[in-house]
């Protein structure tokens, strides 16, 4: 979260990262959130880092913590809240060489839109499954691509 990098023509999805296969076991999204809570999942520093770390990748909490400089306890806590919100999921539990179980996480979030307009906040999440979750009002008729 420290650098603003702007490389024209470089497209992340073309850089040879493995794609995540859709599956039907994605936990249901927490619909009890208000738009503010939903958008805080994205603007919170650690949550944003975790979402980026797990984007089209399978990664353990330990590795996220080390690579992104997130304290390990906070990392587990944030992973848990993102998991409860349905934005990331545990895709595998692998055995380490020491015989310890390690959860691998991947992001379920493809696109997210948080708009503050006319004094109102609303959020829309699009998941890898194609499911869409809206918080705080009507998104119908909003042309997101034109924004």
């Amino acid at each position: 979260m420290t650098d603003i990098l702007n490389i024209p023509g470089t497209h992340w999805s073309l850089m040879g990262f493995e794609t995540v296969e859709n599956d039907d076991t994605v936990p249901p999204m927490n619909d009890g959130m208000n738009p503010l809570q939903a958008s805080q999942l994205l603007t919170d520093e650690y949550s944003a880092k975790i979402l980026l770390a797990t984007y089209k990748r399978r990664i353990s909490a330990q590795e996220i913590s080390q690579r992104y400089g997130i304290p390990i306890a906070a990392c587990y806590r944030k992973i848990r809240s993102l998991e409860e919100a349905g934005l990331i999921q545990c895709v595998d539990r692998i055995l380490t060489q020491k015989g310890k179980r390690k959860n691998l996480y991947t992001s379920c979030l493809r696109n997210a839109y948080i708009f503050f307009e006319n004094g109102r906040l609303r959020a829309r999440f699009q998941l890898a499954t194609g499911a869409v979750r809206d918080f705080g009002g009507d998104w119908n008729g909003v042309d997101l691509l034109k924004q």
Binding site: K56, I114, F116, E117
Partner: protein, 114 residues
């Protein structure tokens, strides 16, 4: 203030309420604190933060019947858009006055910079 800090400020519970409250009419700190259930000290602190970030402006200074002067604040932020697509965060702000970042998409950081 950096753009990512700005977007975090926007999704702060009190800051969001203050911005919404001051959209239409200039309001006093006391008034915002009372109506929106924000502790008065936190309200002053957030308002100063928002003022420093260019989101709020003191629109008027009025004198109360008791002779106390009171500042009325108005929001300068028309809209804010935060978008996450293809592992990249971008933000766009529109203000009521000329500001260098007005209406421009600013890329915060992507998964590739990690």
């Amino acid at each position: 203030m950096r753009e990512k800090d700005i977007s975090r400020l926007l999704t702060d519970e009190y800051a969001e309420r203050i911005l919404a409250a001051t959209q239409a009419n200039p309001r006093s700190v006391q008034d915002i604190s009372d109506k929106h259930d924000i502790p008065i000290a936190a309200c002053y602190r957030k308002i100063h933060e928002l003022e420093g970030a260019g989101f709020l402006r003191c629109a008027e200074i009025v004198t109360t019947p008791k002779g106390k002067t009171m500042k009325l604040y108005r929001s300068l932020l028309k809209s804010a858009h935060l978008v996450y697509e293809e592992g990249v965060f971008r933000v766009k702000f529109e203000f009521d006055y000329d500001k260098d970042i007005n209406g421009k998409w600013i890329e915060l950081n992507g998964a590739r910079t990690a």
